[in-house]
Every structure is written in C-alpha cells, then in structure tokens.
C-alpha cells in the first residue's frame, strides 16, 4: 500500500461554544468538542438534528452563529491558506465531473489541491476500492456506488490529517465498506483524525468518541 505521511502534521482540532440556527430552529448551542491526533469522532443523531450542518461548519464551509473552531490553537478562518490545508471533506455530493474520466477526476483534483502524486498512485487507489479497469470510463457512466468510491479515492489521495466524512458509506456495498474500515483504521493508527456521520456501526479500534446531537428544538 502506497501510504505516505500527511502533507501537514496532525494537530489538535477544537471547537468552542458552537451555536447554529437553521431557519427558526435552534439546532444546537454551546457545543464543545476536542479531537486529538489519532482520535475518531462519530456524530450521531436523528434526521434533522444538524449533523450535516455541523460537519460543513467544522470543514469551514459555513460559519457558526456563535463560537469558534480551532486548528492547532488558530481559528480556522485565520489559517493562512484556509481550512483546506489541514482537512479533507466529503459531503453528500461527490463533486465529480461527468465529462471527465475516473482517472482525470482524480488527477485534476490532486493537482488542484496540491497533493498531486503520480497517476500510478491514483490507479492503485482505484484498484483498492474495486474500480480497477474503470479508470478510462467517463464518470457519467458510473453507478451511484461507484461514483461514491471515486470521491472517496480522491479524499484518500489528498493526504490531509483530518477527514470529515458525511455518510461515507451511502450506496456502498459490504466489500467496499470493509476496505474503507481498514483504511480508516490505518488512518487513525498513523495519528490521523476522523470525524464521521453514519447510521452504521463504526467498528474501529482506538480512541473513539461519540457526539450525540439531540433532536432539534424550536427556539424561543
């Protein structure tokens, strides 16, 4: 397995006093969390409890109503090159270009975010996720599950210390879920960090925490 070290070393990831409102509903307030290198955080909660909103916020894509998120003691928005240096994010959408082939999707993304390895690395990763032989196929001809795998391959190639994954297992079959589980285990063992939402059991040995979001209440 071609696993190099991270582009940037893992550091403490911390959020203090987060509060979020969506429309008239207060999703959560005064939420604190700390994640150290080698730790995993599973965000759980019923539909509509704000899991996706929280993850987007932790990835620096949206701003909290109150509170601050820190990487290595620095507020996320003050990081010199933005939150993308320390974290990789995969949301509900796979962010693939239908008109590009599987391999092109990976190589352009790698060159764009500065983690570009050789095309061989991308091919090895595709092979691991069961997409060997699909590298020249335009993404539009892939199934939902295959697209998800390409998106995950892109994330795994980014070599960021913190992964923020929103329902990564969606549309995946048992075999790929098992491959991912070992990849996550590997990531945690090497001191990486992982924030994940899933309705499945995250079966990983190590320092795992769970954050249970309460069903949302109406704000006063």
């Amino acid at each position: 397995m071609n696993q190099e070290r991270f582009l940037h070393p893992p550091r403490e990831f911390r959020a203090r006093g987060l509060a979020v409102e969506r429309g008239v509903r207060l999703l959560f307030s005064a939420l604190d969390l700390t994640l150290n290198p080698g730790q995993l955080l599973q965000v759980a909660g019923p539909n509509g409890s704000g899991k996706t909103t929280l993850l987007r916020m932790l990835a620096g894509l949206s701003r909290p109503l109150e509170g601050t998120i820190f990487w290595d003691g620095q507020p996320l928005e003050r990081l010199e090159e933005g939150p993308g240096t320390c974290l990789a994010y995969l949301g509900h959408q796979n962010a693939l270009k239908d008109d590009l082939t599987t391999l092109e999707n990976l190589t352009y993304a790698g060159r764009l975010d500065g983690s570009a390895g050789s095309p061989d690395q991308a091919l090895v990763m595709l092979d691991r996720l069961g997409l060997g032989g699909y590298e020249e196929v335009p993404a539009r001809y892939l199934s939902q599950g295959q697209k998800r795998r390409v998106a995950l391959a892109r994330l795994l190639l980014q070599k960021r210390p913190l992964w923020i994954l929103d329902e990564p297992y969606a549309a995946l079959d048992v075999h790929v879920i098992e491959v991912l589980r070992t990849t996550f285990q590997d990531h945690i063992d090497r001191g990486g960090m992982l924030i994940i939402t899933t309705h499945q059991i995250v079966d990983i040995d190590g320092d795992c925490q769970t954050l249970e979001l309460a069903p949302s209440q109406r704000s006063a």
Partner: protein, 222 residues
C-alpha cells in the same frame, strides 16, 4: 500555486471541449443577432455603418450574458464548488482563473468574429481594428463583472434572468466606451481616450471583482 491554477484552467477548458455546444451557442448567438439587424432596419449601407458599433457591442453583451449562468452553476450542483473552497489558495485567485477560462471560451471568440461581422455592416479597416481592440479590452470586463452576478445568483431559481437584471446596468460603462471608440475614429478623431478609459476600467475590474465574486460564492454556499 501556479500549478494548481493551471490545473483548474486546464480542467475547465477540457470540460468545454468535451461539451463544445456551450461555447458554440455563445458565438452562434452573437453572429445571428448581428446578422438580423440588416434584415430589420434595411440594407442602406450608410445607416448600417452608423449603428454597426452599437449593434456589435450590444450583441456581445447579450452573448456573454447568455454564458454566465453556467460559470459556477454546474460546480454548485455537483459539489465541486465546495471542494474549490477547500483548495489551499485564496478563493479570489481561483475565481479569477475560472473567469479567465470563461473569457477564453466566451469572450475571445467574439473578438475574433467581430471583423467579419464589422465588414458585413460596412465598417472600414481602421474602424474594424479599433473595434477589435475595444472588444479585446472590453470582453474581459464583461466576464469579470458577470462573474459577480453569476456567483450572487447561485442556487436561485430563474437565476439567468436575475443575472441580467443585476449586471446589465453595470455593463453600461464598457458599452459606452467601447462603441464610442469606434464612433470616434468614424468621425475622424482619435479613439485613444476611449480605449485608455476602457483599459483603466479593465484594470479596476481585475483588481476588485474577484474579491467580490469570492465573497459572493462563500455567502451563497453558507
């Protein structure tokens, strides 16, 4: 850094080549609109010559606007825009690169087509030269301003019409200066003043609009 920006530009251009109809519609629209004018106002060469600069410029504005909706909308829909926000580079630079790609595909073909259409409307060689120069300076301004509008209407239903309402008023200065430049040489004076102002406007747009576009993208994704 330049490697990242080049990768973005290259990806955008490859995507355009794989779907050439988008770029061809813009150029086709430009040609058709200009070709319709002689049919509408009659074949009198003197009249056509007088309105030529204005017609070409207005057609260029509308053609560029036609292409703006897609500038960020596809990336917004498939989630690529979120990933772009996480690229460890200033978003304004990424947006500027994307806008440059848009100009190469939508603006530059109009500049290259304009001599042919100018000839059709009876412009003389000197006037056509100035027209091309004015469009060369002016169409990047259209793309830059348009990018702000495209970003502000992300995810809004009927965004295309909204873009038009938002940015057409902002297209007035390049329109006046651009067609004014051709009018000036037509009446025997120099187009230098118009072209200089157009150049100044381009520099101003280059420096300011990417930041506005980046801010708008952030807000719309929040």
């Amino acid at each position: 850094m330049t490697a990242s920006l080049f990768a973005l530009l290259q990806r955008d251009l490859v995507l355009t080549l794989r779907r050439p109809q988008d770029a061809l519609t813009v150029a086709g629209f430009f040609v058709v609109v200009v070709a319709l004018f002689p049919l509408g106002i009659g074949p009198d060469p003197e009249v056509l010559r007088t309105v030529a600069a204005g017609v070409l410029w207005v057609a260029a504005l509308l053609a560029v606007m036609l292409s703006l909706e897609r500038l960020f909308a596809d990336d917004y829909r498939d989630g690529s825009l979120e990933q772009l926000l996480l690229v460890p580079l200033p978003l304004a630079l990424l947006v500027l690169t994307r806008t440059f790609g848009h100009w190469l595909v939508a603006g530059l073909p109009l500049v290259l087509l304009s001599p042919l259409l100018g000839l059709q409307l009876g412009l003389e060689a000197r006037e056509i030269g100035v027209l091309m120069l004015a469009l060369l300076l002016g169409t990047p301004i259209l793309s830059l301003i348009g990018a702000v509008g495209a970003a502000l209407t992300l995810g809004v239903r009927g965004g295309g019409v909204l873009i038009a309402l938002l940015i057409l008023p902002l297209y007035v200065p390049p329109l006046i200066l651009g067609s004014g430049a051709v009018d000036a040489v037509m009446h025997g004076s120099s187009a230098q003043a118009h072209l200089s102002l157009l150049g100044a406007l381009l520099i101003f747009a280059l420096v300011t609009t990417p930041w506005a576009t980046a801010a708008a993208v952030r807000i719309m994704l929040d």
